[in-house]
Amino acid sequence: MRGIRRLFRLERGEPPNADEVDVEINAHLAMRIDELIAAGMTAEEARAEALRQFGDVAGTREAILSLDRGQWARARAADWWHGLAQEVRYAVRQLRRSPGFAASTALTLALGLGATGAIFSVVERVLARPLPFADSDRLVRVWPTEPATGPAERPISIPDLEDWRRAQHDFSALGGYWYRAGQSGADLTGFGAPEWLPVAQVTTGFFEALGVRPELGRLPSANEMREGGDHVVVISDGLWRRRFGGDPSIIGRTIQLSGLPYVVVGVMPPSMRFPGDGPDAWLAALYQPQSSTPWKDRATRWLSVVGRLAPGVTPQQAQRDLSTVQRRLAEQYPDADHGWTAACAVPLLDTIVGDARPALLIVLGAVACLLLIACVNIAALLLARVGAREREFAVRTALGAPGSRVLRQVLTESVVLALAGGVVGVGIALLAEPVLLHLAAGQVPRLAGAPGTQWLAALVTLPLALVAGVALGLPPGLQLLSIDPQRALGEAGGGRGSTAGRGRFRARQMMVVAETALAVMLVCGAGLMAKSFRKLVAVDAGFRPDHALAVALTLRDTDNDDTRMARVYRQILERVRATPGVVAAGAAKVLPLQGDEETWPFAVAGGVIPPPGERPTVTVNHVSDGYFQALGTPMVAGREFAPSDTAGGPDVAIVNETFVRRYMGVPPSAAIDRALIFGTSRVPIVGVVRDLHEHGLDAAPQAAAYVAAPQNLRSSLTLVVRTRGDPASMTAPVERAIWSVDKDQAIRNVTTLDAIVYRTVARARLTSVLLACFGALGLLLGALGIAGVVAYTVSQRRQEIGVRVALGATRREVLEVVVGRGLALALAGVATGLAASLVATRAMRAVLFGIAPADVSTYAEVAGVLLLVAMAAAYLPARRAMAVDPVEALRVG
């Protein structure tokens, strides 16, 4: 029995071949023939009879061969898996023998893998995941441009958009919309407390371009989308469930939006979150009366456009097509479109992701860098471990284990280690992802409300762990392959001074150089980002953000009754100012840093006045009296608006310093009483105000003009309330003051100026904090790597150190030699890292403010910090060298 099993095993070693089968069949035939001859047949008769009894010899031969081959292959596979299971058990046993090593390396890997998995998952959501629309790669944003002012996004007028739609060839649908998060909206009344809803105004083609269908009801018909059509509205799934209890009978019901009736015709699915973060209602732009938006005017540019490219058309083709159309419009309508001679088309996803892309990619790059440092660190540790186990492997080789077997065992160990790290890493990623999402909410597009997809983190982390495991096992594995077992066994103590040992030490040194270089890159990136952030928050926005409340509201203009709106505006300001605890209050259509003012063509009176179509444009904000005082922004010359600047009185304007410098070329005081020309009206300048950062801290202030709100009434306004104490505590009194004027006035949003400033720098802050964390971890891992190599040097060179001490070297000299070795490695790493940083940090240009990617002082500081850390890391193990007793060291040697 035992004999048979052994033979059986050996038989498995060779694949089955035809010869064996022939031998078997021939033996059978020969025995049969012998018997038949013994029974009296002639040799020929016997042969014929044997073959007849056998049947189909060739067919049997084939059948047997294929059965044998199948069995052989199955047996080999079973052997392989059996062997692997054995290796895994052995690897686990080995790792359990040194639990400290196993736990620390697995945990290091887990941190690296988990962080990478979590960040990758967030980045994928924002950058790579398709938008929730059919064939979303065919969606583009298009806009007309004035080549004189560059390709920046500009709005379009309804007449121009209609002409685009008629003349274009490259789109299957093209639709316009107007939406500003927090500004475009309407008060929903008649269903309990009034609620301000974000509302988008859309044109024909908008829903068709996105390819969305209502989950309930229908889209508005062409008749309903036009001027004077029946007022209908499509509402969001969120509003439907929140306010109408998800009742299907909502279709056909009439709801009141800012006092006007609209019939609900459709409910959009939850995935329809466009434009912006998703309005609660979509209604036709053409319902607007000309008195509020003169949309029949070709020069009233206010809509954004989304288009669906026809199959096979690229954005570039579409851009050429629309540019041709727009050029013709500029020739045809010079009064309105002079200079607007081109168009721009950009994939919708790109316009949504916008400038979050470089920040996300930089953070992803940084975390990948950190993972790489962790891997190099662990590879160095594994290499050292293999050195300690050289004899064990030599014995295995001597006993006949083939090289591939030894390699497989080393790889199994590192893969088991890495997968253990990977499993913990998945846990870390799952914990870290919601934290990241929370931190990034509101600062990175596409994250709010997106359904969680935590499986992705696992999907990335585990394969990454597998790759890391193989990569970690290869250096020690290949090292072992090159060992001569006889020498390894012959050397007492193993490894020391052997060629393999020296090669391994060189490899470890190179790894230390590599991880120092990587740490330098990480810390350089973190340093640049931190400095950039400090410069950003140090920017003087032009106003005092502390002790100020910002209260956004939209006045109701039910009957287009401007006198009522003006009266409410006036009264709200008065009541708020009279509230105890309020120092000053003013209001503007748009607050600083939010940058969404109107843009008006203008001319300065006194010079050559160009025709209206050729005038430059300036951003215009509608502000109340006392607004600049409430902001804490000083007037440079003249006065700010006064309560007497009313609709009845003469029109007045204020400009900023940049405006005076750029368009008037006179000292600010000389600008007073000169006039601006808007259209046909002449508006005297009564004051020059200090520059405000209207478009963000990182954007230099531009020329700006301010008009008196009562003279150019807009329903949307934000109050700035300067308070004596904590502004947040004033929220309720200010709200009460507003409601004392109109109890149905909905309040859109209450925040503080501090919070507004904070929000504009929040993404830079988050990027900066993440990079700083990664940089610190990278530094720590790099320091551990250096300490490890120095410690190893000390243990390997005890004898030499002993001799030196015996020959009279002072401890200090010994220390210098040992620390010097560590520092030399660190220097090589720092030099490599600085060179690599010069290249790598170029990618950061887009997120840096006020600092060049190749900032010399940052690089010098990073080099200094790295060398200090390296010195400390080398010093601790080197102290052990000082303690070497020469007698002891020499005896042991």
């Binding site: 059986f8 064996e20 031998v23 078997e24 033996a27 047997i64």
Partner: protein, 110 residues
């Protein structure tokens, strides 16, 4: 009719081969001899089918083999039941007996 005979043959042949090997290791020719003796040549088993059955049983792990020398000093493959094969034989014998008894009962009442 010939088709049904073949179908019946396959399972039956495996059973006969397992039974033949239950007395100890044999080479293929000896298995053929044993079956011919026991059935008094009434069941005609083609030698080719017999060898295919032996290799099939081996692929299933019920039979294992080794090379040996025959009585006439020829190199031949010897087959032997594995423990799994022995279990299989017991199962098939009882199944065959129940099958045969059932068919016999039907034929008697008819």
């Amino acid at each position: 009719m010939a088709d049904t005979e073949l179908e019946l043959m396959q399972g039956t042949l495996d059973l006969l081969v397992l039974k033949a090997l239950s007395w100890g290791p044999r080479h293929g020719y000896a298995v053929a001899q044993w079956i011919a003796d026991r059935t008094r040549d009434e069941l005609v088993v083609e030698d080719g089918a017999l060898y295919t059955a032996l290799h099939r049983l081996r692929a299933r792990g019920w039979v294992e083999s080794e090379w040996g020398r025959s009585e006439s000093n020829r190199t031949a493959r010897y087959y032997q039941l594995t423990p799994a094969g022995r279990k299989q034989l017991a199962i098939r014998v009882s199944r065959w007996e129940r099958y045969a008894a059932a068919v016999a009962r039907v034929l008697r009442t008819a």
